[in-house]
């Protein structure tokens, strides 16, 4: 009796663990945050054609370009253009940041790094 319960629990646990370990590597979902709020999430693996959209706030406008597997700020009316110069977002630990507009674009999902300095 007990052995069956234990085996069932074990099987469920192993299935859950296998699901967590074997799911495809993520990092293909880009999140767009403004002032600490998630405003949009884009699944980069599902994009077929280049997709352009704007994120508009009281502080200004960023035009974002998403292509299959990658994303960037194409243009912005911020003074420093650091977000545009950052180019394609490639690294899950180092987001694209537009400080003047308080906008952050980052890849979500697992990555070998937890954060980054420098």
């Amino acid at each position: 009796m007990w052995i069956i319960i234990i085996l069932i629990i074990l099987l469920i646990s192993l299935a859950a663990a296998a699901f967590l370990w074997l799911r495809p590597a993520t990092g293909e979902r880009a999140e767009i945050w403004v002032d600490g709020e998630l405003v949009r999430s884009v699944d980069l693996s599902k994009i077929q054609e280049p997709e352009r959209f704007t994120v508009e706030t009281d502080r200004g406008v960023n035009v974002i370009l998403a292509e299959p597997g990658r994303i960037r700020v194409e243009s912005a009316d911020c003074p420093d253009k650091v977000c545009v110069d950052a180019g394609w977002l490639s690294d899950s630990a180092a987001p694209i940041v537009c400080l003047p507009h308080r906008l952050v674009i980052r890849l979500s999902g697992d990555a070998s790094l937890d954060t980054e300095v420098g």
């Binding site: 052995i3 234990i6 085996l7 629990i9 074990l10 646990s13 192993l14 859950a16 663990a17 967590l20 945050w33 002032d35 600490g36 420093d80 180019g87 490639s90 690294d91 630990a93 180092a94 987001p95 940041v97 400080l99 308080r102 952050v104 070998s112 790094l113 937890d114 954060t115 980054e116 300095v117 420098g118």
Partner: protein, 331 residues
Amino acid sequence: MRRAFALALAVIALSGCAPRAQSSTVFAMDTVMELTAYGPRQAVDGAVSLIHEAEDRLSVTAEDSDIARVNGSGGGEVDGDTASLLKRALELCKLTDGALDITVYPLVRAWGFTTGAYRVPGEEEIGSLLEKVDYSAVTLEGNTVTLPEGALLDLGAVAKGWVSDRIAAGFREAGVRSGLINLGGNVMALGKKPDGSDWSVGIRDPFSEGLLGAVSVRDSAVVTSGGYQRYFEENGVRYCHIIDPRTGRPADSGLASVTVVGAEGVLCDGLSTAVYVMGLEAASQLWRENSGFELVLVTDGGEVLVTEGLEDVFKPMDVYKDGEIRVIRRD
């Protein structure tokens, strides 16, 4: 049978039950900050208020901060927190023999790094401004600061590290055993990750968009300074934002990037600037004569060096993966 039961328990214990991650993004101190705590929401909310309070008190540009008031009137009384940071900052200036100097602000301003209106000041201007630079002439008695005529304080080289210490302390008080604080490149890793492994902190390559490597840490700050982070160019010469307090000019010590790893955030923050200014030889000596921190150094020539405490936890990446890593040892 008993082994199967133990295994089932272990799998259950590993597959859940960790507190949920609470995160916040904060725009403050001219940078973007990311806070994550595995614990109560209040811990993160408390940290956000702490950051804003610290910015209000410590900003050199905000008009009514403690620092701006002291700079405007040559001294005065400051908040107890500001005084304790100032005390620690002055100790670090002394420890580094002035390679970190919290009175270098007149020169930082003259080069345009506070406003973005970059310029190369003339010899005479640099010479006369240098006369105002001397941390040892700053006095702190209780909460009262006195500055010599014309001197200006700037705690920018230590403030974020200090705030990361305060946030970590607040997290611990709130019962958070695992958390990650990244104040615009000033990282503080609290405890271990919820899965029990160490935090992996990537370090940027000073010469490209890629990575230099990563350090695995727990209960530790990781702070990087490098000339590549902010600079301007004029007539083909690159001028970086870290001013050598002894020459009044952008630091040119032969190092491209300095990462300091240790338990105390404010120490790591202050030392990252100081070590960048002092260069490889003086930095190695400072490390041998003191404890509480470890270093990852990249020279202008692309050579990578780590102090021996990081030998096993630093993992080179990208173009450095198969390159040589020199280890700096105590003896």
